[in-house]
């Protein structure tokens, strides 16, 4: 008589592996031509960074979200009328964000909008901005390459001036090097 029959060895394998490399990108929100002008003023001991955002004449989409990367602990951001101000964090990136609350206030091709502002106890530094073009969400159920729908990826990225924290310790040589580096970066970016 047999004494035992048993399931001795099963190893489980995944039934489906997604091929994320071959997936298409999320429909583009980069059909815009942003240029950003920045001005700076001091108010009550805080630096106020003001931004004007222009959308080029040949853009195919309106700009409806604008972000400025932030490198300072606390800040307040205010926006134009009918734009919502908030902030977001993605991994190590923090950004002040503004979004249009109505389609009529988005920045159309050839348009310009003033009134984006950040106030912070900070020093100025070169940082990134991101502008996002508006399109209706695609209809249906699709697989897209992961991350290709993220605002920090599916947007037009550029350089601007934004707030940065004071250095913990002030080293005059490092500070001068930083200023020289900013000058080089600004020269490379050119007039914008």
């Amino acid at each position: 008589m047999f004494s035992a029959i048993s399931i001795l060895s099963f190893a489980f394998v995944e039934s489906a592996c997604s091929q994320t490399d071959t997936l298409p990108e999320f429909p583009s929100s980069k059909e815009i031509e942003p240029t950003v002008a920045t001005s700076l003023e001091e108010s009550n001991g805080l630096l106020r960074f003001s931004y004007s955002v222009r959308n080029g004449q040949n853009a195919a989409q309106d700009i409806w979200i604008f972000l400025v990367e932030i490198n300072v602990g606390e800040f307040v951001n205010l926006g134009p009328v009918e734009w919502r101000s908030s902030n977001i964090r993605r991994d190590t990136i923090r950004a002040a964000s503004w979004g249009a609350l109505d389609t009529t206030v988005m920045i159309p091709p050839g348009g310009i909008l003033h009134g984006f502002a950040i106030s912070a106890n900070s020093i100025p530094a070169i940082t990134n901005y991101y502008a996002v073009g508006y399109s209706e969400p695609p209809e249906g159920e699709f697989d897209y390459r992961p991350g290709s729908n993220d605002v920090f990826y599916n947007s037009v990225k550029g350089k601007t001036i934004g707030p940065a924290s004071f250095p913990v310790t002030f080293d005059p040589i490092v500070f001068v090097d930083t200023l020289v580096s900013y000058k080089h970066q600004a020269f490379c970016i050119g007039p914008n």
Binding site: F2, S3, I7, A11, S15, F26, G140, F142, G147, V151
Partner: protein, 252 residues
């Protein structure tokens, strides 16, 4: 297989799988056994010594050491599966089984919260508002965090309005056959048609947020264009741009 502690060679056996009813959040009893999708529905075996993929049931014989070794490739469903082996000579006497869970790990239930209500439960996959059980709002920690942040941000702009969070994933993840027929989510391209499928709801990384909301008077109303744009903006900023169906935005 052993006899008196020694391996038995050449003994015929039958190996198969059997779905455990009502497991994984599937509350429907419709026959899932569509022969066109055997492997998708029941999983299948991979015979280790040949690396051959084999449909269940498998009939074979024990090898020289009394062992036959397999890998099991899971079905597309999140559920419990019973793997059974029996001697084909003495099936009533010599048999064994093991029940396994086929699941996406670490899915959590979306908790109750003032800024949203959970909806979308059906007889096939029970959940609110018609059932106390909630089997259609499971997700990864990241998705739970995103959905919560989206609803809270919306409530900042529209106080005492509550978003309606429709289907996310089932408790064990896996294919989500909306109509409980074990097919809807299997067949491409059906599951990708607007208003039809749930292809994206397998891994706990997707949630549907309705274009209707609950207003401060507790009424279910269609969002205004302005509210819809705000929701789109908040989702885009927090979770990335969504796609849409006729009735909802699909957070991914």
């Amino acid at each position: 297989m052993t006899r008196g502690g020694k391996p038995v060679t050449g003994h015929p056996f039958r190996l198969t799988t059997e779905y455990v009813d009502s497991s994984g959040g599937h509350d429907h009893f419709a026959d899932r056994r569509n022969v066109n999708f055997t492997r998708e529905n029941y999983g299948h075996f991979i015979l280790t010594r040949t690396n051959g993929h084999i449909d269940r049931p498998y009939q074979g014989e024990t090898q020289l050491n009394g062992i036959e070794e397999f890998h099991y490739a899971a079905s597309i469903w999140g559920d419990s599966m019973r793997i059974k082996i029996e001697s084909t000579q003495l099936p009533k006497l010599l048999n064994d089984s093991v029940t396994i869970a086929e699941r996406v790990p670490d899915l959590e239930l979306l908790p109750e919260r003032d800024s949203y209500v959970r909806v979308g439960g059906t007889d096939e996959h029970r959940g609110p508002p018609d059932f106390i059980e909630d089997r259609n709002h499971y997700g990864t920690a990241t998705l739970i965090e995103d959905v919560t942040a989206i609803a809270d941000s919306f409530a900042v702009e529209y106080e005492n309005h509550r978003l309606r969070i429709n289907d996310m994933s089932l408790p064990f993840g896996g294919a989500f056959d909306i109509n409980g027929n074990w097919e809807q989510d299997v067949i491409e391209p059906n599951c990708r048609q607007p208003g039809f499928g749930h292809c994206g709801h397998r891994r706990g990384q997707n949630a549907d947020i309705s274009f209707q909301l609950i207003n401060p008077r507790g009424q279910q109303v269609v969002m205004t264009g302005r509210q819809r744009l705000l929701l789109l903006q908040i989702i885009t900023l927090i979770a990335g741009a969504p796609y849409q169906h006729s009735s909802h935005l699909h957070v991914q």
